[in-house]
C-alpha cells in the first residue's frame, strides 16, 4: 500500500514537469506563429523583434527556434530585457512579470507603441494585454483582447480570433 502511494506521488510529481516542458515548447513556437495573424502599422522596420521582459522561462529554446529565421520577410532579433525602456521598437513582447503594476505600465507603453503583448498570466487580457496564452488540460487556451489590439493599431486576422476561447471586445 505504501509502495503504491509512493509510486502515485512520484508519477504525480513528474507529470506536471513533463506537461510544463511541453507547454513551453509550444509557447516558444506559438510566439512566432502569432506573427502570421497580426498586421503591424509600421511595416518599414528592417528587423522583426521579439522581446522577453523579466525572466526567461525558455532558456535557449527561442534562440534555437528563431535563429536565422524570418517573419514577414524580416530577420528575427531576440531581446531579453528587464526594464521597460528597453522594449523600444519591439514587435512581440512576452511578459513574465508577476507585479501587476509593472505589467500595467508595460501594457500602456505597448499600446502607445503598437507592440503585441503576450503573457500566460491569468487576467492579462482583461487588464489590457492583447493575447493571453494558457494551456488547459494540455490544450491551447487563447484569450484575445480585441479592443486593446485596435487601440494599439494592431490588426488581428479572423482565423486567430476564431480559435480564441474568449475575445474581449469591450471593457469588462
Amino acid at each position: 500500500m505504501k509502495k503504491t502511494i509512493l509510486t502515485i506521488l512520484i508519477i504525480g510529481m513528474f507529470v506536471p514537469i513533463f506537461g510544463s516542458n511541453q507547454e513551453r515548447d509550444l509557447q516558444a513556437a506559438f510566439l512566432g506563429k502569432f506573427a502570421k495573424f497580426i498586421k503591424w502599422p509600421d511595416e518599414s522596420k528592417e528587423k522583426f523583434i521579439i522581446t522577453l521582459i523579466d525572466e526567461n522561462p525558455f532558456e535557449n529554446l527561442l534562440d534555437d527556434l528563431y535563429k536565422d529565421k524570418m517573419i514577414h520577410g524580416k530577420p528575427i532579433e531576440l531581446r531579453y530585457v528587464t526594464k521597460i525602456e528597453d522594449i523600444k521598437n519591439t514587435d512581440i513582447l512576452f511578459i513574465t512579470i508577476d507585479n501587476q503594476a509593472e505589467v500595467q505600465k508595460i501594457i500602456e507603453y505597448a499600446q502607445k507603441n503598437s507592440i503585441l503583448t503576450i503573457s500566460e498570466k491569468r487576467g492579462f487580457a482583461q487588464r489590457g494585454g492583447i493575447i493571453q496564452l494558457n494551456f488547459v488540460m494540455q490544450k491551447t487556451h487563447l484569450v484575445i483582447n480585441y479592443k486593446s489590439s485596435i487601440e494599439s493599431q494592431i490588426k488581428i486576422s479572423s482565423p486567430l480570433l476564431a480559435i480564441a476561447q474568449d475575445v474581449i471586445k469591450e471593457d469588462k
Partner: protein, 423 residues
C-alpha cells in the same frame, strides 16, 4: 423480312431508326451527365477541402484540436462526407472527425498538394493546408459517392421514362407517317384492280400531293389512257378483221359454189358431181343402202346446135337442167358432166325407184316445148341409162355400167330408159 407488307416495313423502318437515334442520344446524354456530375462533385469536394483547410489553418497552427473539430463539424452535416483527417506539416496524424470506424491514426505517405482518387463508392481528396502561402499541414477528406449514384439513378429513371414516352409517340407517328407513303400505293393498287375488273382504261387518278407520287399518278393516268387508245384501235381492228373474215368466208363460199357449179345450168359441175359420187358410194356401203344412178344425154343435140345455133343449144341445155333439178329429190345430186350429158345420183333409191324417176324426167322433157327466140320453139328428147345397187363396184365401174345402159338406149332408138346390167 421480305414476307412483310410494305406498311409493316415502313413502320419498322421509321420506329427502329428513331429508337436507335433516341437510344444513342440517351446513352450519350447519360454518359455526359455522369462524367459532368462526377467532375462537378470532385471539384466541389476539392473546394470544400480547400476551404475547410483554410478555416482550420489557425487552429492547426496552434494545435487546437477542439477548434478544428468545432470548425469542421458542420461539414459532417453533409452526409456524403464520411471523415476528415488533419495531418501536420510532416504528414503526421493530428486529428480527425467523422466515422470512427474509418478513422485510423496514420502517417501520410505522399506530400502532394492535391491528390484525388475516385472509386465506385468513395472519393478521396488530399489537399494541403496553407496560410500566407506557407504549407502548415494536410487535410484528407473521404466522401461517399451515394449522392452521385442516386442522382445518376434518378437521371437514368427519368431518361428511360422520357425514352419510353418518346417511343410511344414515335410508334404513333410511325403509324401515321407510313400512311403518307402507303396510301398512294394502295390507291394505285385499287385503281389497277378496278381497271382489271372493268377493263375500262379511262381512269383519272387525282394526285393529292406534290411529291413523286403525283408524278406516279399522272404517269399512271397517261399509261392507262394510252392503253385505252390502243385498246380502241385494237377493237376497231378486230371489228375490221371480223368483217374481213366474214367477207372472205362469203367469198370462199361463193368461190366454192362457183367451183362446184356449172356456169350455164347452175347444176353441179363434173368435178363436184364426181366427188359427191365417191362420197355417196362410201355412205351407201356403210349404211348398206341403195344408190341409184341415172346417166342421160340429149338426143341429136349436135343438129340443134348446128341448125338453130349455139344460143338455142344453150337454152335447150338450161331448160333440160331446170327440169332435172325440179324433178330430183331433195337429197339427190344433179350434175352436168359433159356438153349435153347429165348425171343424177339418187340416195336410198333401188332400181325401180330410179327407173321411175328417169322415166318421169324423160316424159317431162319429151313434152317440153322450149322457146329459144320470139315465136321459135324446139322440142328435144333424152336417152337414159339407169342402175341401182348397194354399191360393191367402184365409181368408174358404176359409171361404165350406166354408160353402157345409156348406149343401149341410144342404140334402141333414143328417147328411152335402159337399165344397166352387170356382166
Amino acid at each position: 423480312m421480305h414476307n412483310y407488307s410494305i406498311r409493316i416495313k415502313l413502320i419498322l423502318l421509321l420506329s427502329l431508326s428513331s429508337i436507335v437515334a433516341l437510344l444513342i442520344a440517351t446513352i450519350s446524354n447519360l454518359t455526359y451527365y455522369y462524367y459532368d456530375d462526377k467532375d462537378r462533385v470532385i471539384n466541389a469536394s476539392i473546394n470544400l477541402a480547400e476551404v475547410s483547410g483554410k478555416n482550420i489553418a489557425a487552429s492547426l497552427m496552434f494545435h487546437d484540436r477542439d477548434s478544428i473539430n468545432t470548425i469542421l463539424k458542420p461539414i459532417l452535416e453533409n452526409t456524403n462526407v464520411k471523415y476528415i483527417k488533419i495531418y501536420n506539416n510532416n504528414g503526421e496524424y493530428f486529428t480527425s472527425i467523422g466515422e470512427n470506424n474509418n478513422v485510423k491514426e496514420d502517417k501520410l505517405s505522399s506530400y502532394e498538394d492535391i491528390k484525388v482518387s475516385v472509386s465506385f463508392d468513395y472519393i478521396n481528396i488530399l489537399t494541403s493546408i496553407t496560410y500566407s502561402n506557407e504549407r502548415i499541414g494536410f487535410l484528407k477528406m473521404m466522401l461517399s459517392t451515394d449522392d452521385v449514384k442516386a442522382s445518376m439513378l434518378e437521371q437514368i429513371q427519368v431518361s428511360f421514362l422520357i425514352m419510353f414516352a418518346t417511343i410511344i409517340i414515335i410508334l404513333i407517328l410511325a403509324f401515321w407517317l407510313e400512311k403518307i407513303f402507303t396510301n398512294p400505293i394502295f390507291e394505285l393498287l385499287k385503281a389497277m384492280n378496278e381497271l382489271k375488273k372493268s377493263g375500262e382504261f379511262n381512269v383519272n387518278l387525282v394526285p393529292y400531293s406534290k411529291d413523286e407520287f403525283r408524278e406516279l399518278f399522272l404517269e399512271f393516268n397517261n399509261m392507262a389512257n394510252e392503253i385505252s387508245k390502243r385498246d380502241k384501235i385494237l377493237k376497231d381492228n378486230n371489228l375490221s378483221l371480223e368483217q374481213l373474215v366474214k367477207t372472205t368466208q362469203n367469198d370462199l363460199e361463193k368461190v366454192s359454189i362457183l367451183a362446184s357449179t356449172d356456169v350455164l345450168t347452175n347444176l353441179k359441175n363434173r368435178r363436184y358431181t364426181m366427188d359427191m359420187f365417191e362420197k355417196m358410194i362410201q355412205k351407201a356401203r356403210i349404211t348398206e343402202s341403195y344408190l341409184g344412178i341415172i346417166m342421160l344425154d340429149i338426143d341429136h343435140f349436135k343438129s340443134v346446135n348446128d341448125t338453130l345455133g349455139h344460143h338455142a343449144g344453150d337454152i335447150v341445155i338450161k331448160e333440160i337442167a331446170a327440169i332435172l333439178e325440179s324433178n330430183a329429190r331433195e337429197n339427190d345430186v344433179v350434175g352436168r358432166i359433159g356438153g349435153e350429158e347429165f348425171l343424177i345420183l339418187c340416195t336410198n333409191s333401188d332400181m325401180d325407184t330410179t327407173f321411175n324417176v328417169a322415166e318421169r324426167v324423160r316424159k317431162k322433157i319429151e313434152n317440153k316445148v322450149i322457146s329459144y327466140e320470139d315465136n321459135k320453139t324446139v322440142q328435144v328428147t333424152i336417152s337414159l341409162g339407169v342402175y341401182s345397187s348397194i354399191p360393191k363396184l367402184n365409181k368408174e365401174e358404176l359409171m361404165k355400167v350406166s354408160d353402157e345402159a345409156l348406149y343401149r338406149a341410144k342404140k334402141s332408138g333414143r328417147n328411152r330408159v335402159e337399165k344397166g346390167i352387170i356382166k
